[in-house]
């Protein structure tokens, strides 16, 4: 059992507030992804959990035990680094067995565990090699195997796939997800790649400027972003925004279209819709087409609505060209509203 509890954690580097007010509970065997742009504090948070960095404030608990004062080796964690950190002076076998040797496990137990994880990661043919003789993908496999061999309660991964090329990354993504699900460990995975986050996570914590903006399942983060930042960060292309003005109780005027919305006393709200949730119709928003990008499966159309850039994903059979005017209607149940002052979602 390894529930991770992060309580009121904050981190300052001099005058710079890297993390503030982080509260997060990660369930046993959950796959949690920390997602955010670079500099948002996600790696710092991971390093605080690992013990490579000390928090300025707050507590970290793993499996009901407070661990923020312990050195990394006593926390029951294993970590996979972005640059693999495979020891160059040791063979693959000794790399994977490094942690086990440190625990002074008997030789045959080391061999058994190393062989098992090496087979799991498909590197059993490479055990006698040195890291200089491996490709990037193989090194990353060694790094993961080394972490798994420890049979840790918690496995921490800091952008483990970001140094691999696109095809390999996709392959490793699926494989890593499978292997971790088998191993019954709690995992925290840091990435700036939203596709990685969406495809692997049980839950995503979206981080921005040292705070967790939303922690929810991938589909929830996608469908119901808790803040404008999340709406603009998740999804490719991201959500479209337009300013809405009140038009009676629960009625809002958006680009010449009257829509049902929240009952709010605000002077304006921000209307948001995903590009794929727009339909062509007789009545709707007038959109002047600026750019047409055929992407095979569908058509990405960038247009101008009410003086704002607006993207729509449309059927690829559609004959649309630059300069056309389209009439777009948002799917009512997919419309989201945000308060322009607090930037939080309004129901």
């Amino acid at each position: 059992m390894a529930v991770i509890e992060i309580k009121n954690v904050a981190k300052r580097f001099g005058n710079y507030q890297a993390l503030s007010d982080i509260n997060l509970t990660i369930e046993d065997q959950e796959f949690m992804v920390l997602l955010g742009a670079s500099g948002c504090g996600k790696s710092t948070l991971l390093r605080i959990i690992a013990g490579l960095e000390t928090a300025s404030e707050g507590e970290v608990w793993i499996g009901g035990k407070r661990i923020d004062h312990l050195p990394p080796k006593d926390r029951g964690i294993a970590m996979v680094f972005q640059n693999y950190a495979v020891f160059p002076h040791l063979t693959v076998f000794e790399n994977i067995g490094f942690g086990l040797r440190m625990q002074k496990l008997p030789n045959d137990e080391v061999t058994r565990r190393v062989t098992r994880v090496a087979e799991l990661m498909h590197i059993d043919a490479l055990l006698k090699r040195y890291s200089g003789e491996l490709s990037g993908g193989q090194r990353q496999r060694v790094a993961v195997a080394r972490a798994l061999a420890m049979e840790p309660d918690v496995i921490l991964m800091d952008e483990p796939l970001s140094n691999l090329d696109a095809l390999l990354r996709m392959e490793m993504r699926a494989e890593l997800k499978g292997v971790l699900a088998e191993s019954n460990t709690t995992a925290i995975y840091v990435t700036h790649d939203q596709v990685e986050a969406m495809s692997m996570a049980d839950r995503i914590s979206v981080m921005h400027q040292g705070k967790i903006v939303q922690a929810a399942s991938p589909i929830e983060v996608y469908r119901n972003p808790a803040a404008e930042f999340v709406a603009g960060f998740i999804g490719n292309p991201p959500m479209n925004f337009l300013t809405a003005t009140p038009a009676g109780t629960g009625q809002w005027q958006v680009a010449g279209l009257a829509l049902d919305g929240p009952q709010s006393g605000a002077e304006t709200l921000n209307f948001a819709i995903r590009p794929e949730d727009l339909r062509l119709s007789e009545m709707g928003m007038q959109a002047k087409v600026k750019i047409v990008e055929p992407l095979g499966a569908h058509l990405l159309v960038t247009c101008e609505v009410d003086g704002t850039l607006f993207r729509a994903v449309l059927d690829s059979d559609l004959a649309v060209k630059r300069g056309d005017t389209l009439t777009l209607t948002p799917q009512p149940d997919r419309i989201r509203w945000f308060d322009p002052v607090s930037t939080r979602a309004v129901a």
Partner: protein
Amino acid sequence: MTAVTTQAPDTRRAGRTVYAAAVVLLCAWVLVPLYFLFINTLSSPDTVNSFPKPFVPEFDTGSLAFFAGFAGMLSALKNSILVAGMTMVMSILIGAPAGYALSRFDFRGKEVFRLLILLTRAFPLPLLALPLAVMFIRTGLDDTVFGLALVHTTLAVPFAVLITFSLFSGIPMELEEAAWTLGCTRLTAFTKVVLPLILPGITASAIFAFVISWNEVFAAAVLTIENRTLTAFLLQNLDTSPLHLKFAGGFILVVPALIFIFAVRKYLFAMWGIANR
């Protein structure tokens, strides 16, 4: 258009000639004196003292044999090795931790500290020699191998710090961090991961310290009387000893230094930030 195409090879050829000439000149600058030293060492004492001199060594060990038999020479050689050995050990023991700290930790005054390390070489040794000699006499360190090794360590430490600093900086922090998460303390991570990776470089740095001490003559001449090192011994006997002894002594001094520096050249280049192959 044609003018350009015909002129370009000409300038290139001229440039290449200048380049080759520069290379030859520089090589000659270093190699010619070494070659004369080599010839004269391997000639019989009679040949050395005669004129004209041959351009081919006659491989006569007479000069070297005479040198080996010269009174006090062997103990001077032993002293040189002892002092250099102690300098080597002490400068690594002091320099390597400083190099590690400089590469791994951010602390107040780090840049000033780096500057100060270099500044230790800013004072000419003759300036320091007199007060140093007085202090050594008071503490009883004068004319001892250990006292001289201390002075040589002071000379060698800046280089040891700079070389080890660049070596440690070349080892990613993540390797150490990975070791910590795999059950190592700071110390065991150092001994199991950093040390094996850095050992060749440390050896190079140690050899460099050895050479600095081996070649040093001023402090050795001022601070020792009975226990002279080879350099000080040769300096003392420079005007009284025969020519072939000087050549043989010079040869014995130059050869180890040359071999050692050649062996560690890669790391010395790394220290100065020159890309090496």
